[in-house]
C-alpha cells in the first residue's frame, strides 16, 4: 500500500470527485504503476480517497491510499510526470495497512483571505463560544443550522483567517461559512481560499494527517 498526499489547485480544482478518481486511474496506468484491481464483474483500481470536497476549492492537503507494491521513493516523481496540470503528488509512503482516510480525517483547515476583513476583528472574535446560525440552500431546500459546534478555531491576522472546521460526517462547507461572513460584513472581495490541512482526532486532540508519512 502507498499513501499519498496531493494538491489540486488552479483549474484542476474544477474536476469533480468521480472524475478525479478516473484521472488518477489513467495517471497510474500511464506511469506503469501496477495497482491492484477489485474482484467481480466490474473490476476497478483499488484507490481510497479522503472525503470529496466541493467543486472549485483549491487544496494542498488531499490524501489517497493505493493498493500497490510500488516503491514510495519513486512514486512522487513518476506520478507527477504523468499527471495533468493542477494536480501534484506532494509526498508518498509505503504502509502495510490502509489508514482509511475517508473514515479518520474529519477535520479540515482553510486559509481564507477577504479584502477588508481586518476591520471586522471584533465580529470574528465574537463568533467563538456562541451559536452561529447560518441559513443556506441545500439541494433546492432552504435550511438553517447552528454551525458553532463544527468550528474548532478561527484565527485572524489582518484580512486572513485560518479556520479549522469539522469536515467529516458533520461538515461546515467553506463556501457556506464565507457567504455568511460576506453577508454579515457586506464585504465582497474574496481574494483567496485554500484548504491547507486535514486532521484526525485522537484522545480529543487534532493530529495532522501528515504524521502518517513520518517514520
Amino acid at each position: 500500500m502507498i499513501i499519498m498526499k496531493y494538491s489540486k489547485t488552479g483549474f484542476a480544482s474544477y474536476i469533480p470527485h468521480l472524475d478525479t478518481l478516473r484521472v488518477f486511474m489513467r495517471t497510474l496506468t500511464r506511469a506503469n504503476i501496477e495497482v491492484e484491481y477489485s474482484e467481480g464483474f466490474n473490476p476497478h483500481m483499488c484507490l481510497y480517497f479522503s472525503n470529496p470536497i466541493p467543486l472549485g476549492l483549491n487544496t494542498i492537503a488531499e490524501y489517497c491510499a493505493i493498493s500497490t507494491e510500488f516503491e514510495a521513493a519513486d512514486f512522487v516523481k513518476e506520478f507527477n510526470k504523468f499527471c495533468p496540470q493542477g494536480l501534484q503528488c506532494l509526498k508518498a509512503k509505503n504502509l502495510k495497512k490502509n489508514p482509511n482516510f475517508a473514515n479518520i480525517l474529519s477535520v479540515s483547515e482553510y486559509k481564507i483571505e477577504i479584502e477588508g476583513l481586518n476591520n471586522f476583528s471584533s465580529l470574528i472574535s465574537g463568533l467563538k463560544n456562541k451559536p452561529f446560525i447560518i441559513s443556506y440552500n441545500s439541494k433546492g431546500q432552504n435550511k438553517s443550522k447552528d454551525f458553532a459546534p463544527l468550528i474548532y478555531s478561527i484565527i485572524q491576522t489582518g484580512d486572513n483567517l485560518t479556520c479549522v472546521f469539522s469536515s467529516g460526517a458533520e461538515n461546515l462547507r467553506h463556501d457556506i461559512f464565507i457567504s455568511e461572513i460576506l453577508r454579515l460584513t457586506s464585504l465582497t472581495n474574496v481574494k483567496e481560499v485554500l484548504k491547507t490541512a486535514q486532521y484526525f482526532k485522537e484522545n480529543n486532540q487534532l493530529i495532522n494527517a501528515d504524521i502518517l508519512f513520518e517514520n
Binding site: 483549474f11 472524475d19 484521472v23 489513467r26 496506468t29 500511464r30 464483474f41 495533468p84 496540470q85
Partner: protein
C-alpha cells in the same frame, strides 16, 4: 483571470471551459500563425470528435503554428460571459477568438448552425464574411456538414471539403505567408481557391428562378473533394488530449478505414467517404500500442463506417491481443452489421447490450434502401448473441423511407417479437430480455441515391410513430423516436441553399441556439424566421426533379450523379445492389484515388 474564476463558480461543469488536459502541447512556443479549432457543441461532444483530435495535433506539431480549441459554451456560461463582458476565449491560453489568425469551425450537422452564430456573437465577430476585413480572423468551415455548405456559405471565408489533414495545413501556411505582407483577403482567397478541396463562396454567385429553384451557379467551377490517397501513411495522433471530465466517447479511437462498400441508399457518409482505403494491421497495432501508452485509457474503439467489413478484423484483434501493452485493453466494436456479428470478441466487454440497425421492418423495404440484411441474418445474429449471454438488445430503424407502407412499419413489431422468442429459446441467464427500439425519421441527404426524395408530412410520420408506440407498449421494451419538427428543419437545411443564411441569422437573433437539444429547440421561432425572410420550408422538403440544379452540384465527391440516380431507379423496383467488395460497380470514386474495396477477405 479572477473574473473567470468567479464565473466558473456559477456554472454547471466548469471543467468544460478550463483546459489543462494531459498531453496539452507546448503553448509557450514562439509562433507565426495561430489557429483556433471551434466545435459548435459542448465540450463532452466536441472532445469525442476524431477529426478535431487529428487536426489539433497536426497543427500543433508544426514549429511555427499554435492551435487551440474553443467549444460552444452551454447557455449558462454564455450568459455569464455576456453579463461580465468577457469575449469567448480559447481553452488553452484563454485568448479571445477575435485575436486568432484563423478559426476552423467544424460543421457536424444541420442543427448546429445557430450554435455557430452563438459562438461568433459571443466572440464579437460579425457573422457575414463580407462584413469582415483583414483585421478579423479568417473563418474556415469543414467537416461532414461541408458536403452541402450552402445554407451557411455566407458566413464563411472558405470551406475545406473532404479530408483536411493536408489541406488545412496548406491553407494555414499560405495565410502565414500573406500575413507577412500587405495583403487583401480577396488576393489570399484567390490563391487559396487553387488548393484541392477549397471552396470560396464569394467566388461563386448563385442566381434563382422565380419559383426558387437554382438557375445557375456562376464561375462554373467544380470543387473536387480532397482525400488522403495513402491512408496507411497519413499522420494519426498518438498523444491526443485526455479530458479531465467524462466525455461521450471516453476512450482511444483507432480509425480502421474510410469509405464503405455496402451502398445503403440513404447513407451520405458511405457514399461521400469513398474511395475505400484501409489501414494495415501492422500500423493499427502500432498505433494502438502508442495510444494506450500515452493516454492511459483501457478501452479502445475500432472505428469505421462498418467495422465488420474490415477485411482482416480477426487478424487485427489477435494482433492487438498479442501485443504486450494492449493485451488487457477492452475493445469496442461499434457499427457492426447484423450479418457480421462477432460474438467471440465481444464476450470480454462488460457491456451486455448489443446494437443492430436493420433500419426497415420488411425485407421489401430493406431491399429498397439496399440494406442487404435478411431475416435469417437477423435470426442467426440474435441467436449467437443470446447464446453468448447477451440479455439486452438495441435495434435501430427508420421511418419515412421512400415507398414505405404501414405494413413495412408493422413488420418492425414482428422483429421485436422475433427477438423475444429467440431469447426465450437461447437465453443463458435468468435475466429478462431488455429491448430498446430507436426510431429515427428519414431525412433525404445530398450525395445519396435518395437525394431527390421528399421528406414525409407530419401526419404520415406521426401515424407510423403511433403504430409503433402502441405496438411496443410491452414490458422491458423501450421506444424512442425523433421530434417531427426537429427532423423537418434538419431536412430543410440538409438540402438548403444560400438563401437560408438569412433565416439562420433571424432565428438566432430571435433566440434560437443549441437546436439539436430538445430542451432549447424553439420551432415556432424558426417558422417565423422563414416567414420574415419570405421563404417557404415546403420548397426544400418536396420531391426534386432530376433536371433541377441542386445546391451541392458544384462539388465532386467522386461518386457520380449517374450512379446515384441509377441506384434510386433500382430502389423503386425493389432491386438491390451488391456489396462492391464482390466486384467494382464503377460508382466513380476511384477517379479520386485507388479504391481497395475489393481487397480479398482472408
Amino acid at each position: 483571470m479572477d473574473k473567470l474564476n468567479k464565473i466558473l463558480q456559477n456554472v454547471n461543469k466548469p471543467a468544460r471551459y478550463t483546459g489543462g488536459e494531459y498531453n496539452t502541447p507546448k503553448m509557450d512556443k514562439p509562433f507565426s500563425a495561430s489557429v483556433c479549432l471551434c466545435f459548435p457543441d459542448i465540450y463532452e461532444v466536441a472532445m469525442s470528435n476524431l477529426g478535431l483530435k487529428i487536426l489539433y495535433n497536426i497543427l500543433n506539431n508544426q514549429k511555427n503554428i499554435i492551435c487551440e480549441r474553443c467549444f460552444a459554451p452551454f447557455p449558462d456560461m454564455g450568459q455569464q460571459l455576456k453579463e461580465n463582458d468577457i469575449p469567448l476565449f480559447s481553452l488553452e491560453r484563454k485568448v479571445p477568438l477575435k485575436k486568432f489568425d484563423i478559426l476552423g469551425i467544424s460543421l457536424q450537422y444541420e442543427m448546429c448552425y445557430t450554435s455557430i452564430l452563438y459562438m461568433m456573437s459571443l466572440a464579437k465577430i460579425p457573422f457575414y464574411a463580407a462584413c469582415r476585413d483583414e483585421s478579423y480572423p479568417l473563418i474556415i468551415g469543414g467537416g461532414p456538414g461541408s458536403l452541402n455548405p450552402e445554407p451557411v456559405a455566407d458566413f464563411f471565408d472558405l470551406f475545406i471539403i473532404g479530408e483536411a489533414e493536408e489541406n488545412l495545413l496548406e491553407v494555414v501556411n499560405l495565410y502565414e505567408k500573406y500575413k507577412k505582407t500587405e495583403f487583401t483577403k480577396t488576393e489570399f482567397l484567390k490563391q487559396a481557391a487553387k488548393i484541392t478541396g477549397v471552396y470560396v463562396p464569394q467566388f461563386a454567385k448563385v442566381s434563382y428562378f422565380p419559383d426558387g429553384k437554382i438557375e445557375k451557379t456562376e464561375s462554373g467551377y467544380k470543387i473536387q473533394k480532397s482525400i488522403i490517397k495513402d491512408l496507411d501513411n497519413v499522420y494519426y495522433p498518438v498523444s491526443p488530449l485526455v479530458p479531465n471530465i467524462e466525455i461521450v466517447h471516453d476512450r482511444n479511437v483507432l480509425e480502421l478505414f474510410r469509405g464503405c462498400t455496402r451502398g445503403c441508399r440513404f447513407c451520405q457518409a458511405g457514399m461521400a467517404s469513398r474511395p475505400v482505403r484501409y489501414k494495415s494491421v501492422r500500423n493499427l497495432t502500432n498505433l494502438c500500442e502508442q495510444l494506450s501508452k500515452n493516454t492511459g485509457y483501457l478501452e479502445t474503439s475500432l472505428s469505421s463506417l462498418s467495422t465488420g467489413d474490415y477485411p482482416q478484423l480477426k487478424e487485427l484483434i489477435d494482433s492487438i491481443k498479442n501485443n504486450d501493452y494492449c493485451k488487457n485493453l477492452k475493445l469496442q466494436l461499434p457499427s457492426l452489421r447484423a450479418d457480421s456479428f462477432l460474438g467471440e470478441y465481444l464476450s470480454e466487454s462488460r457491456k451486455s447490450s448489443l446494437t443492430f440497425a436493420p433500419e426497415a421492418g420488411s425485407q421489401r423495404l430493406r431491399d429498397v434502401i439496399n440494406k442487404n440484411i435478411t431475416k435469417d441474418d437477423i435470426i442467426s445474429c440474435l441467436t449467437a448473441a443470446f447464446e453468448k449471454g447477451f440479455s439486452s438488445v438495441k435495434l435501430y430503424f427508420m421511418i419515412g423511407l421512400p415507398t414505405e407502407t404501414e405494413q413495412d412499419v408493422k413488420e418492425i413489431l414482428e422483429i421485436v417479437n422475433l427477438a423475444k422468442s429467440l431469447y426465450k429459446k437461447y437465453k443463458k441467464s435468468k435475466k429478462e430480455l431488455k429491448i430498446t427500439v430507436s426510431i429515427s425519421t428519414f431525412v433525404p441527404k445530398p450525395f445519396t441515391p435518395f437525394q431527390y426524395e421528399k421528406f414525409n408530412e407530419k401526419s404520415q410520420i406521426e401515424r407510423m410513430q403511433e403504430i409503433l408506440r402502441s405496438g411496443l407498449k410491452q414490458k422491458n421494451v423501450s421506444f424512442s423516436y425523433n421530434d417531427y419538427n426537429l427532423s423537418r428543419l434538419e431536412a430543410v437545411f440538409s438540402r438548403g441553399d444560400r438563401r437560408l443564411s438569412k433565416v439562420i441569422e433571424t432565428a438566432f437573433n430571435d433566440g434560437c441556439k443549441f437546436d439539436g437539444w430538445l430542451e432549447f429547440f424553439k420551432y415556432p421561432l424558426w417558422e417565423k424566421a422563414f416567414e420574415k425572410n419570405g421563404l417557404n420550408m415546403e420548397f426544400y422538403l418536396q420531391e426534386k426533379s432530376e433536371e433541377e440544379i441542386l445546391p451541392w452540384d458544384f462539388i465532386d465527391i467522386g461518386v457520380t450523379k449517374n450512379f446515384l440516380t441509377t441506384e434510386c431507379q433500382k430502389a423503386k423496383l425493389n432491386k438491390t445492389t451488391n456489396n462492391c467488395q464482390n466486384g467494382c460497380l464503377n460508382c466513380g470514386a476511384k477517379k479520386l484515388g485507388e479504391c481497395f474495396a475489393f481487397l480479398e477477405k482472408q
